[in-house]
């Protein structure tokens, strides 16, 4: 373990530590790949030509920059000024495209021809399949068998995009096991294959690299909110599973006066209910039992059902730079419905967690008149069938 980085959200130490969290807990067969990846990323990230290509693809293909929408009706009802960073308008419908374009370009730069990825709800899998199709890479996506059934349409999308979807039947057959299986596959195919991890987690350099690729949304949001508010927002809020959209957003405001709030699903709250441990190559806050066996996360949102959290979030929580809260399934459904019918935006279940916290705390922890920026990290299309079923069961819709 090493001493902490200087400024919040600075580069991690050479061994990949953000304070007491992070590191590189990978089996030896994978270590050379992690070291090679770190070197390739450092080289690419210092190369203006790589930045130019990354930004150009995200502009002409990915739909960046995404706008900020100022909510009129909901702001008035809540007594705050609510701004939405519209990642739901990015190609494939979420912020995930930023990371996969970065990693797919890096895959080519490393001379590798194949990409593997894990996915829970399917957003990262669809984004990976998209980037692979664009750049002519072979793509295999590992997805828990339970999730392939819950998200059958996303399985079809990935296949339509030319990817192979590999259902994972080990363990709980969800996201955690998909990560295990992707790592196992990577061990065997590391020569020609890059593991395109979907969040700010895993062994170094993944947590740092994914944050850097996602920081494009935080930088945009900082400039855009400055133009709208003539200031930074009082609160900067994002949902957190592994935490990539939050890391990207927070990176734009880490050194400002904005309060940073991450919102986890109540049933997968690694900061509130986890303790330090090692999973998937990183030291972080992890849901686990007394012996150290990993526990399952359970919530309405497959995208947040992860028993850990990115190590940098564990660090930001420990130094008090960011605060992590939770939202339960009922609040989340209310938030989703309310944004839909007041603002004409159907959010994904994941950012609905962050909105639920804002709706609960407006006028309480969030003083009236505050300015609040929410990362609308994904659109709700993928969730409407599930939400319809739940709301109908509650007698809310026919």
């Amino acid at each position: 373990m090493s001493e902490g980085s200087a400024a919040p959200m600075a580069e991690p130490t050479k061994a990949g530590w953000f304070g007491d969290f992070g590191g590189r807990f990978a089996p030896e067969p994978l270590m050379p790949a992690c070291l090679q990846l770190e070197e390739a990323f450092r080289d690419a990230w210092a190369d203006p030509a790589f930045h130019e290509e990354f930004e150009e693809v995200l502009h002409s293909f990915g739909g960046r920059p995404t706008p900020i929408t100022v909510c009129k009706r909901l702001s008035e009802e809540l007594g705050i000024t609510l701004l939405l960073k519209r990642e739901d308008l990015a190609h494939t419908g979420s912020h995930k495209i930023n990371n996969v374009i970065g990693q797919a370009l890096l895959t080519k730069r490393m001379g590798k021809s194949k990409m593997i990825a894990e996915t829970g709800a399917g957003q990262h899998g669809v984004a990976s399949a998209t980037a692979a199709a664009l750049l002519g890479l072979e793509c295999t996506v590992y997805m828990g068998e339970v999730d392939t059934q819950r998200q059958a349409l996303n399985v079809f999308r990935m296949e339509l995009l030319g990817a192979t979807v590999h259902p994972v039947t080990s363990g709980s057959r969800t996201l955690k096991d998909a990560v295990n299986e992707a790592m196992r596959t990577w061990v065997a195919q590391v020569d020609d294959t890059h593991y395109c991890l979907g969040s700010v987690m895993g062994p170094h350099p993944f947590p740092w690299m994914v944050r850097e690729f996602q920081s494009i949304l935080g930088t945009e949001a900082r400039d855009q909110s400055q133009a709208i508010l003539n200031d930074v927002p009082d609160y900067v809020v994002a949902c957190v599973g592994g935490g990539s959209n939050a890391a990207g957003l927070f990176s734009g405001f880490a050194e400002s006066r904005s309060q940073l709030i991450g919102v986890e699903a109540l049933g997968g709250a690694a900061i509130a209910s986890g303790i330090p441990g090692v999973l998937h190559g990183m030291m972080s806050q992890i849901l686990q039992d007394e012996q150290g066996q990993i526990l399952e996360a359970h919530s309405i949102s497959a995208g947040l059902d992860y028993p850990g959290i990115g190590p940098e979030h564990a660090h930001l929580a420990s130094i008090g730079r960011a605060t992590y809260a939770t939202a339960d399934d009922d609040e989340v459904l209310d938030a989703l419905e309310r944004l839909s019918n007041t603002e004409g935006i159907i959010p994904a279940l994941e950012p609905s967690h962050a909105l639920a916290w804002i709706m609960r705390e407006a006028g309480k922890k969030i003083p009236k008149g505050s300015t609040v920026l929410l990362n609308m990290s994904g659109r709700g299309d993928k969730d409407v069938a599930q939400v319809r079923e739940i709301l109908q069961a509650k007698g809310r819709f026919q």
């Binding site: 089996p27 790949a33 441990g277």
Partner: protein, 264 residues
């Protein structure tokens, strides 16, 4: 109880021109697992790897994962199986293999102390990289546990040297790129990985991952000092082979390995 120190015993045997056989069993996999440990010791194992089951074993293939799930479903905890091991009268060194979170959760010194109390003299933690090794290295050293490190086909010569300098007990050479599991012999990369580490260490070099049959084990010990056999044995136990079936298989491996020694 006290058992032979892992590295001392293996070095003695290698010096006596004996090739090493190190089988793996999953602790707590079935009610008779301790009898299995006893039986494979009697059948000619030079050391035995004892797997402590972890919920998320990223270095293991489907067979060992299945055994881990079974063991956890039987209510196995690290302490419960270690207590059972402590009752075994055995002149064979035991090496625990598990994942770092179980060690970290117990506390490094406490975990090392528990191993020592029950007579375990070596420990393999496959997800603990060289970069994060020093804390565990010190905790193990304090109580005389040999921490075993892995070298893979992908490991550079420079890195292999650093790993060789700090591994104790033996050097675990990964025979192929991949997770544990049975494979046909075409994919074994034993020669390259063994010759990569030889210049840097006098430790016994044992090859595991993908070594499944007596023929493969014999081929492995033509270049290495020993063979580690996990999934092929665990599969036989999952299929109900029991201590007797395990002993028969270890006997076959032993004869195949010994025939190489006599040829040489």
């Amino acid at each position: 109880m006290s058992r032979p120190r892992l590295e001392d015993r293996l070095r003695e045997r290698v010096a006596a021109k004996r090739k090493l056989l190190i089988p793996y069993v999953m602790a707590g996999q079935s009610e008779d697992w301790l009898e299995t440990v006893q039986a494979i010791a009697d059948a000619g194992a030079d050391a035995i790897e004892i797997g402590l089951p972890f919920s998320d074993p990223i270095m293991d293939g489907p067979v060992i994962q299945e055994a881990a799930v079974l063991s956890l479903e039987r209510g196995t905890t690290p302490q419960s199986v270690l207590n059972e091991l402590g009752r075994l009268e055995l002149d064979t060194p035991l090496v625990v293999m598990t994942y770092f979170n179980l060690v970290y959760r117990a506390g490094l010194d406490r975990f090392a102390g528990r191993l020592q109390e029950v007579g375990v003299t070596g420990c393999i933690i496959p997800d603990l990289s060289l970069e994060e090794f020093s804390g565990w290295e010190k905790a193990a050293e304090r109580v005389g546990i040999d921490p075993v490190l892995l070298v893979a086909p992908s490991t550079s010569a420079e890195r292999a040297k650093a790993i060789c300098e700090r591994s104790r007990g033996f050097l675990y050479a990964v025979g192929r790129m991949g997770v544990t599991g049975e494979r046909d012999d075409a994919s074994l990369e034993v020669g390259a990985v063994v010759s990569k580490v030889r210049p840097f260490t006098s430790l016994p070099v044992c090859v595991g991952v993908g070594v499944s049959t007596p023929e493969q084990a014999a081929a492995v010990v033509k270049v290495a000092d020993g063979a580690i056999v996990g999934s092929a044995l665990v599969r036989r136990l999952l299929e109900g082979g029991g201590p007797e079936g395990a002993a028969t298989f270890i006997g076959e491996l032993r004869s195949a390995i010994d025939s190489v020694t006599f040829d040489a």
